[in-house]
Symmetry: none
Subunit: 131 residues, 4 copies
DNA sequence: GTGGTCTAGACCACA
DNA sequence: GTGGTCTAGACCACA
């Protein structure tokens, strides 16, 4: 299942949920217009308190990833997601930075890192839209 | 200064400190054998609670980045850094993953992401050892 | 169509309906004595739960905007609308208040706000009675 | 006190709190850098559950009105508030719209409404920065 | 002491 | 049935 949560992880459950959903949308598992499970459904499915699910859904809505239609349920947003470009680029740069540091301590050369990156990119591309 | 901390950030200050030091070592700003500032020095310099500095130093010592020599002070570790390879590779993969998701929401194509990555890599290489 | 509803909005659908009808009356789209569509008609037209339409009609009747004539249907009220003046003025003041706060965060100067307001006023005046 | 909450109101308490704070900032009661009361302080002061206060603070932080500095407390944000201009203008137009409708039912002429608006604007300007 | 997370549970507006 | 609000209370990371 694309929505697995690790309750032992130090990252809060609701954050994990947000990440998983964003990822699923990015990969095409979830498509615009798709109906999300209800808060209660997901809560009982994952054995997590409904409030926690609700918090994740609220965040996702604030980020424009999903939309709530009064009493009809929650859906993957149709409109193009408006993301703060500046903030996003900053985050991207930081992630690359962290990679480089991590690679250094792993004794991975830049060449190796590069090919690792290219492979991941390829993988991602291939898996896009798969179930 | 290579050690700038953002108190507004959601990442804990001690984690930021750890990252900054690891980065400085990776880039060659800090070299094996270099003396680290004492906890108190750094605390007053950065205007941060000494407990926070101490916690960061503990972590760095656990990761083998720095070493405390009884009553002489703290130094950048000389021995080759022992990093858990498995854990490191996992982290690396996760970072790449996060990048891909972030790039998706920024509307950055894989080609763009690739060139962004290559540029960062080049940058990193060039700046190594610079002040 | 003067009666468009946004199911994504955070304002309840029945409130939106009430607002739209009041607006239509104020603009002269709907005139005293005009027949309103039945609850079922409107429900199927707007693809909205009939209970929601019924609730909106109830409110409109309470406010004296529309009248139900036993088994003949619902009509735009003929008599002068009885509105609680005190309540109305309070609401008006609040709306102006909200405008000022909103304008502040948009970086709109009072002069700009003023001209924006004057233009809206003019617009409203001109469109009155148009379809 | 600038922060009075009406527990009987139909607008949620946390929304009222958000509005009050935004208003206080807009009027200059709260200035950039000012320290906000802690969640617990405000909770006991207003006799409201701390979670409700926390929710309001989180919203304010997401909107960029306030900032949390790790364990130092919460402060009125210094940086210029980044508000979604488009969304804001839309809201502004809606508010003006509502005013016009309301004025119609109150039997207030456009001239009267205009002077009412101008007076409010003047009032606001004068009170700015007063305690 | 500070805010953040999570649970359990109640109640309510809306459709 | 759907999500939103609020309370009470516990626990925890951080500084």
């Amino acid at each position: 299942m694309w929505l697995d949560i690790d309750p032992r992880s130090s990252t809060p459950i609701y954050v994990q949920l947000v990440q998983r959903v964003k990822e699923a949308v990015a990969r095409g598992f979830l498509r615009p217009g798709d109906r999300m499970p209800t808060v209660r459904e997901l809560a009982s499915l994952l054995m997590i308190n409904p409030n926690t699910i609700a918090k994740a859904y609220q965040r996702l809505e604030q980020e424009g990833i999903i939309e709530t239609m009064r009493s009809r349920g929650t859906f993957v947003a149709v409109g193009s997601v408006q993301i703060n470009k500046e903030q996003g680029r900053k985050k991207l740069t930081e992630l690359i930075h962290d990679m480089l540091v991590e690679a250094y301590y792993l004794g991975i050369s830049n060449e190796e890192l590069q090919s690792l990156f290219m492979n991941s990119l390829q993988d991602w591309e291939n898996r896009k839209g798969e179930q």
